[in-house]
Symmetry: C2
Subunit: 179 residues, 2 copies
């Protein structure tokens, strides 16, 4: 697939832009009105303490009914390295730091339209290094869950990147010895 | 958070609409230009054969570099039940059917902006019942992978919902006996 043309059709600054692309398929067919959605790349981080407690939030968000369990998360600033963003968000939101970080992958959100990329991290042996200073619009309550509680509560992570990073962490740490 | 007003600001039909919402936070602060992205809900399906082979694709998509491993997936038609969409997409794309379906959850894609919901399914003891009739824009090659191959190839599922459904299936089927 080739991109012949790009035109900005909606501009809400750094949080949302939409482009219309002229796209040529491999078979030569041309689609003149392919929409491409530009939202910021983001990180999600699962912090685990030395006694195997997962540092999470119970929080509400505009797009979800009721509240949800959630890992640390936030947008990457322009030019910021994903791992640095992960460390920054973890400390800002929870006050925790860690010296043992694992990158669990980078994934595009929408296979057709883009919608930004998710960068996932695991931080083990996490410890309290300060006070949380979350600037989120909604209240966040920190909760410490055991691994078993997390395994039994996967459906309570109601947002796609949140359940994805939780399952990747559980597999990473499982007996199967996954990457 | 409360929605006071909605205004349609971009309309590309069923594949993409954008609204601007006036949103009141719990603390009373009002945000007049909250963007809300409407894309179709979709399903992803992992088919597993009686001899524990995962029925997957190697395919390219506009938003990804090179190709990716992928599960069955597609948009839900207006009014269609997610499970029916899962069965329809599985048969259309692979020719496989199953009598043993598991719902692995429904997740909103973006906690702030919506962007549709992912409905995930696992189908076990899947069997060939016809020919694939994929109408995808890009070529799809069906590949049958062992469970171990899937576990070792998670990073080759380059799209967020794809890696999410794969990890949920691996956990569902793991010794831990997860839901």
């Amino acid at each position: 697939m080739k991109t012949h043309q790009r035109q900005l059709i909606l501009d809400y600054g750094k949080f949302l832009k939409v482009e219309q692309h002229t796209v040529e398929l491999d078979n030569g067919h041309v689609i003149p009105d392919w929409t491409w959605v530009i939202t910021p790349d983001f990180v999600n981080v699962v912090l685990i303490t030395p006694d195997d407690r997962f540092v999470l939030f119970r929080q509400s968000k505009y797009a979800i009914e009721g509240d949800s369990l959630a890992p640390v998360g936030g947008y990457i600033e322009p030019g910021e390295d994903p791992l640095e963003a992960a460390k920054r968000e973890a400390f800002e939101e929870t006050g925790y730091q860690s010296d043992e970080w694992y990158a669990l992958g980078t994934f595009i959100v929408d296979a057709n339209r883009g919608c930004g990329r998710a960068h996932f991290f695991l931080a083990k042996n996490a410890y309290v290094a300060g006070e949380p200073h979350a600037d989120d619009l909604e209240p966040q309550e920190i909760v410490l869950l055991t691994r078993q509680q997390v395994q039994q509560s996967l459906q309570e992570f109601k947002v796609l990147p949140w359940v994805a990073v939780m399952t990747l962490v559980l597999l990473h740490d499982s007996a199967a010895g996954l990457p």
